[in-house]
Amino acid sequence: MHRTGALYGQFKTLEQQKDTASLGMWIFLVTEVMFFGGIMLAYTINRHTYYHAFAMGSNTLSIQLGGFNTVVLLASSFTMAMAVWSSQTGKKKLIPMFLTLTILLGFVFFGVKYIEYAQKFHHHLVPGRNFDITYCVNNPSKCEDIDAADLDVERAEIANALAADPDLNSHAQLYYSAYFGMTGLHALHMIIGAGLLFWLLRGSLAGRFTPEWNTPVDIVGLYWHFVDIVWIYLFPLLYLIDRHK
């Protein structure tokens, strides 16, 4: 089905038709705000209740990898915005270029996320029967990717956290459940977004988007930026707890 800017009977102008489409997308995004908002609220309550376990968990994440991914995702939002601009101004050659860049940055994000997830599996930090917050501290030879100095810091932190919270191991699992749940849902949204971007790429290579009709680029752009906003909140919530000395 090729909708190339035909004016449907219920609208007066193409402008009104496009505004309606973007209004519909915003209503969907508001439901997404409530979805992620509820999860972040539950996270906040647990974080305050089990402060030490959550700080301990947060400190095992890599700020370098998380920060890098934040930059990657912000850059992909920029290239997405440029793809929308290209379609609005009729620069037909630039649309597929910016869409490809956006997809590539999305895949860089997935790659870094894979490294982070794999590390958590190796370090026994995935909730379940093998979860052990003290694993790396007790088996330093099995966690060669962690700096020995970092392990010393972690050893002291675990001692402090255990003094305040004897059931640290259970409560740290809550943190990691939230971590995998929230970043996993965010990644799922990105996978859907990447699929939509491939669909746009096909349309743009066929020269389908023009200044008169570029609604799909605009709408998928809104979705992609929303996913970026979710990460803007996840990064400080998950990575930046109790980092100061």
Binding site: T13, E15, K18, D19, S22, L23, W26, I27, L29, V30, V33, M34, G37, G38, L41, T44, I45, H48, T49, Y51, H52, A55, M56, N59, I63, G67, T70, V71, L74, A75, S77, F78, A81, M82, W85, Q88, T89, A156, E157, N160, A161, A163, A164, G221, L222, H225, F226, D228, I229, I232, Y233, F235, P236, L237, L240, I241, D242, R243, H244, K245
Partner: protein
């Protein structure tokens, strides 16, 4: 509704460049701020910067600044509902004691890096 044809506002790349560099700067700032001990205000600063970043994305990347009023209304209604969700739930938690008779630790500001007994 107005009969006038309102032409679509096209945000120029220069605006997008200013926004992306502001966002990258704020990302650096939030990491920097996380390493300073502000006690309970660390989370306030972190979420404040995140909200500033989100606002910039919504206004410029998502063109909300140039959207019709009814789109802005939907956005504001969504944010208002989110505030109800967060504010009323958290004020409920903050004003109760749990089944163990323990107050919800809203003012928790102990750090892992200092001994809890010191």
């Amino acid at each position: 509704m107005s009969e006038h044809e309102h032409t679509e506002h096209i945000v120029p790349p220069s605006t997008y460049l200013v926004i992306i560099f502001t966002l990258l700067f704020l990302t650096g700032l939030t990491v920097f701020a996380a390493y300073i001990n502000l006690g309970r205000f660390n989370i306030v600063v972190a979420l404040g910067i995140a909200t500033l970043k989100a606002t910039l994305v919504v206004l410029f990347f998502m063109h909300a600044k140039y959207s019709p009023k009814r789109t802005k209304l939907v956005i504001m209604a969504g944010i208002f509902w989110l505030i109800i969700l967060l504010f009323m739930t958290l004020s409920d938690y903050a004003s109760r004691v749990d089944y163990r008779g323990v107050h919800f630790p809203m003012s928790q500001n102990t750090s892992l890096h200092s001994s809890p007994h010191s």
